[in-house]
């Protein structure tokens, strides 16, 4: 499994969100996308998930053009973890997780196979949410909901997993455990995994490849050691930083903003 993105351009009405984005991701290779707010990280993931349509450019999954795939085939292959879902109509975690099996089932079929239930069971055990299954979605804490959302994507058993800010709302333990687990799943199931994240330390811990996006453009791509450098990060984030080295990993310490615009 491999994804090739070629010359992607995305527009939201008259504002350009992505310009000339070209890259390639292989299976088992954890790719972390970093960049400031509004850089285009989510847009990139949503475009690969076919939620947003690009104006120019093409995405190939295993050599197949993404736009040629039917919505159903796409549901079997790609899962995007949306940080927001609607929970105004009360429903339980279990009901939510079951919906993720739909792409693999007959749309008109009424039965829920034993295998489907087993997938739900395994994933919810691994992410430590099996005690939450009968709770209502709107009664979960932000951290619990985040784990449920990630679990949903894993229940879908995708070949391409796109995570948008998976570390948000999670405490120290779950940040490490969940990203660790996702890395393990990505390697053992040979799936393509792209993570958009703000926490640069987590990126340095778990990324095989880091991609820096700014103003809708790819600024740098490479291993964490190659990309997490003072000059690149200072230019992109407009923050003075210092790099520490702990256990051979780079830890980025933000010191102070380079200029204080608008927040005086």
């Amino acid at each position: 499994m491999r994804i090739i993105v070629e010359g992607l351009e995305v527009w939201y009405n008259s504002t350009q969100a992505l310009r000339n984005v070209t890259f390639e991701v292989r299976e088992g290779e954890m790719t972390y996308v970093i960049g400031p707010n509004g850089a285009g990280k989510s847009t990139l993931l949503k475009t690969i998930a076919s939620i947003v349509k690009p104006k120019v450019g093409a995405i190939y999954i295993d050599g197949k053009l993404l736009s040629r795939l039917s919505p159903r085939e796409l549901g079997k292959i790609v899962a995007y973890v949306d940080p927001q879902i609607s929970k105004t109509i009360p429903s339980t975690v279990f009901e939510f997780l079951l919906t993720a099996r739909y792409p693999h089932q007959n749309t008109l079929g009424f039965s829920m196979s034993h295998q489907d239930l087993e997938v739900v069971e395994n994933v919810s055990k691994q992410l430590n949410i099996d005690h939450l299954l009968s709770r209502r979605l709107d009664q979960l804490s932000s951290g619990e909901l985040q784990r449920v959302l990630i679990a949903r994507a894993l229940v879908q058993r995708p070949r391409v997993l796109l995570l948008d800010e998976p570390s948000a709302f999670l405490d120290l333990r779950y940040r490490l455990e969940i990203l660790d687990y996702i890395k393990m799943v990505a390697e053992s199931n040979r799936i393509v995994c792209i993570v958009a994240i703000h926490d640069l330390y987590l990126a340095s811990l778990y990324a095989d490849k880091v991609m820096v996006i700014n103003n809708g453009e790819i600024v740098a791509v490479g291993t964490p050691e190659e990309v997490l450098k003072e000059d690149i990060l200072e230019r992109v984030y407009r923050v003075k930083i210092s790099l520490l080295s702990i256990n051979g990993k780079r830890v980025v310490i933000p010191l102070e903003p380079i200029e204080r615009i608008g927040l005086r």
Binding site: S70, L74, L133
Partner: protein, 347 residues
């Protein structure tokens, strides 16, 4: 855990199904027994349900009287079921637990259309099919108007509710005026057309009520997966391979048709569409596979019970005419909803 939970869900579904069906059969028998000539419910039960299996039982007067009351009871059941289903579908497509056909202006526009039809072409309106059609056109127009207005107001769910209230108020006023005029044409007080009554439904028209309701129920049930996915957001439904706009349009069509059917048979009966889906979700959860049949049963029960109350009140209070059905459904349904609300908040 997951397997166990799923079994539990199926169990609670079957238990609710059994309980509600039994209750419905009981109320149905009761409804046939109540009237100016009171019958023994046991005799009615024998005459209606055991007769087909046991031809030796002869057709007594109990049977004759019960059959006379049959269309009214069936009308209450099917209207309740269809209103409840319309409410469930509307709540799902707007992802708004406050939605019901009445709030979104479907009922009042449907009623306006019917009143206009009666004024403009009274001889056409003798046929129920045309009434249903005209009423459907009205309901669809109401939905589209609400949607357009809410789009102009930003498209949020709050805008949708406000737009619905605006459309509903406007057309409820218009329909009042039109129905006041219609009084001259049909020679019945207009409160009946406005607030609903199952008393006027004819047996030969029942097919236009029962079959479309059943058909739309099967259709809704067949689409339970897209509807479930739709609950969690447009982008979520898209990800699972369902087009959110297609789901919304199709479901709106179903809701409008259901509303139109009930409007043309019994008039506006509020509250069933709001309360029944909540009660069903409380019983079996939000999965449409389970909630669709349960919602319909709950709606049928509330409406049938309300109709029985209407009959009893008119017999014992001895006032002129009967109470409107919608008044009674509100009185019966609201405490239920209040109970559920308090229980949920406490949890």
């Amino acid at each position: 855990m997951a397997t166990h939970l799923y079994k539990l869900k199926i169990k609670s579904f079957l238990a609710s199904l059994l309980l509600l069906t039994t209750l419905l059969l009981f109320l149905f028998t009761l409804s046939l027994s109540i009237g100016p000539a009171m019958l023994d419910p046991r005799e009615v039960f024998k005459a209606i349900f055991l007769k087909p299996f046991n031809p030796s039982v002869e057709r007594g007067e109990v049977h004759v009287i019960a059959m006379l009351r049959l269309s009214r009871a069936l009308a209450a059941i099917f209207c309740g079921a269809s209103l409840a289903l319309a409410g469930l579908v509307m709540q799902t497509i707007t992802r708004n637990p406050l939605a019901d056909p009445y709030i979104f202006g479907l009922s009042s526009t449907a009623l306006t259309a019917v009143a206009l039809g009666v004024i403009l072409a009274p001889n056409l309106m003798v046929h129920k099919v045309y009434v249903v059609l005209v009423s459907f056109l009205g309901a669809m127009t109401g939905y589209i108007l609400t949607l357009l207005l809410s789009k102009l107001g930003g498209g949020s769910s709050l805008a949708m509710v406000l737009a619905g209230i605006a459309i509903a108020s406007l057309f409820s006023g218009v329909s009042h005026i039109l129905l006041y005029i219609v009084q001259q044409v049909v020679k019945t007080p207009y409160v009946y057309m406005l607030m609903g009554s199952a008393a006027t439904v004819l047996q030969r028209d029942l097919q236009f009520l029962a079959f479309p309701t059943m058909l739309l129920a099967v259709l809704t049930l067949a689409f339970f997966k897209p509807l479930n996915a739709y609950l969690y957001g447009d982008e979520y439904a898209k990800q699972l391979g369902f087009s959110p706009t297609l789901v919304r349009d199709l479901a709106a069509f179903v809701a409008a048709l259901l509303t139109a059917i009930t409007i043309s048979f019994v008039g506006i009966v509020g509250f069933v569409g709001l309360a029944a889906p909540h009660i069903a979700r409380f019983l079996v959860g939000s999965d449409h596979k389970f909630s669709t049949p349960i919602t319909m049963l709950v709606g049928a029960l509330i409406t049938l019970l309300a109709d029985i109350v209407v009959k009893l009140v008119s017999m014992f209070a001895g006032a002129v005419g009967e109470l409107p059905l919608g008044v009674v459904t509100a009185v019966i349904g609201a405490p239920f909803l209040a109970y559920l609300m308090i229980k949920k908040v406490r949890e």
